[in-house]
Symmetry: C4
Subunit: 214 residues, 4 copies
């Protein structure tokens, strides 16, 4: 419990997890509504589906992004003993950025054939990813400073490693990806894909690599 | 348990929480579907997104509103020992008003450029907020009168303070905001934002402020 | 446990509850997407909203219907000791009819001004309600015959009363409502509303009334 | 626990279940949004609903498919002692294919009257079903090889039977159904329906049939 300040504001984490799982699950499932295949004649449908491949790519990147953020969230909250009032509000802000991701995802698909519009959509998407990552870092920092991890120092150190070796570099890399996307939209999207895949690497794998380097 | 009347109708609160979390999570995530960016040429997309800034504002206000109501709901139900049949029905009515919020949110975005329509949308939004707050107060009152808080009188007193210092004034303020919105739609929206931010202040912070004044 | 046959197929009920709560919560929240206010000039918006009052009525009836079925489901599953494979499949069929309710709800709103279409929509809506109620009865019967209530005979008797005094009469009444709806759509809708309100009466209130009569 | 390797990566399965239940529940409920009844004059509505019967058929097949995959998922994860990092990522990939199912479902309904388009939609649908089944098999294999079933060897053997007698044959049969669908779309759809119904047969019924044969 580190240094317990006072008992006020300490709450069990069950409903925060349930509500967050709900928002993550809905946002990740709503993404499919952004894939719109225009109605064509039947013999052109296959061709049309292939022509919308950018939309499927955007879908996959967004799906992995939300999935990776969910797994980071699961790892962080799972390591906590309880949550407090500030943590709940930071969490709500994270969920706001998670819930809005279908919007730029849809724009990326919609403007796939229009380079000018695609730039805007890719940068919009990148900014949302930066904000999600930022919130995760702020939540971890807050939990650390307020003793929310409880007595288990192992958990706390693992989360510190995750922030240092996964979240913080990803934050920078998403911003770099957004800048690249300004000039080359698809290169930006590729950068996002690589970062989300890196974020999805299990925490303990990161830890092992880190320990070896030390 | 206060004065337990009879055991009938007392139910564990697990599924009420799960079902309510589901409705809150879906309603808060569906809000994003109300942000519709009309299709424009690519080089105008950035400009178009900025032009729809009222929609984003409406999104943020509605998101905070549902988030605040969820947190009040979490605090109230978390303090209960069990729920009863009447509480479940009041809760369902609360959820009806939560689930309908995306509708006036969408109207606020849609009529942003049309002052006459915006007035209607802002008042509609305000009425839904008033009804949500009213339901929370009725649920707290019912829980108090029927001994649903169990033996923990601390919890009960905290909830009383929350009703007195947060919910009841917010109810009045939302109604005032709706009246202001009749004349000045954006001023009304700003009032809602302030109230939802106040509702989102943790209960124990309110309690501390109150104790100091006593 | 009544007469336990064999241990096969007996499963804990946790995930069935979680999955069902999810479907109920989503279906009840999706209903709002069926309320579509056509875009009009701002000064006509208030008038337009009033003109769509049938849509709001359909929304409220459908919301109460799903809410009532959820509460019946909660009471039934809450009384069980565990579920079995057949129960899970009956439950899935119930969820199919719950999930489809937004469709006739939307049609009732859409054809409000067109009596011929409204008849079809009201009957469609009624058939879905009949099927939902039928599934609840089949689930209760199956649970009873296979000893899923466990040792608590009190729970089992309460569920029997609920079937006899709430579900079975409602089944008939929904069918009657649909027939009435064929001739007088709005009278049919009113009948549905009354039945769903009756279904939403707590089980133990019914039990008390029944005991008095016995 | 079989041979526990190291404690790293082993996680409780609660949130994986909650998040997955959310995605399953949303995907299965979103299917109804794919049923679009074009607006017609009121006296033609009944006829129009009948004309869209292919859409209802596609809805039912997709509903049973997701329901069957959910029950397989429930049986598999329910038998595990805990999950690990790889299992969570395989699970996320399964959810990606679950969440995308509304898309080909919608196409099947949309192109019902257009044989060329229907072929494409039915094959698309079949490929998604193949991928879902493949992921379930990979998850079961991974759980087996890494001792995630814990000490209960009964559970493990039951899951092996399920893979051998339900999932693996279904994988092949879905692929065959897709090939058939290339030539005869509706025959392909009928094959899918049969397979999903077979997948929905309880695991212990399969086990009994298997034991009798041995």
């Amino acid at each position: 419990m580190g240094v317990p300040r006072s008992s006020d504001g300490r709450r069990p984490k069950g409903r925060l997890e349930a509500f967050s799982d709900g928002v993550f699950a809905i946002a990740i499932t709503l993404l499919v509504l952004e894939i719109v295949i225009p109605h064509v004649k039947g013999h052109e449908l296959l061709h049309e589906i292939f022509r919308e491949r950018q939309m499927f790519l955007a879908y996959v990147v967004a799906f992995i992004a939300i999935g990776a953020v969910w797994m980071e969230h699961d790892a962080l909250v799972g390591a906590l003993e309880y949550v407090d009032a500030v943590f709940m509000r930071l969490n709500l802000l994270l969920l706001l950025f998670v819930a809005i991701l279908p919007l730029p995802t849809g724009l990326m698909g919609e403007y796939a054939a229009d380079r000018q519009g695609e730039r805007v959509a890719v940068v919009f998407f990148g900014i949302v990813l930066v904000l999600q990552t930022l919130m995760l870092i702020l939540m971890a920092r807050h939990a650390e400073r307020n003793g929310l991890f409880g007595r288990d120092e192992e958990d706390e150190r693992e989360e510190e490693d995750r922030v240092r070796y996964q979240l913080a570099p990803s934050l920078v890399a998403f911003a770099v990806g957004a800048v690249i996307g300004l000039a080359l939209p698809y290169a930006g999207l590729a950068v996002y894909l690589l970062i989300t895949l890196y974020l999805a690497v299990p925490g303990d794998t990161i830890e092992r690599l880190v320990k070896r380097r030390r």
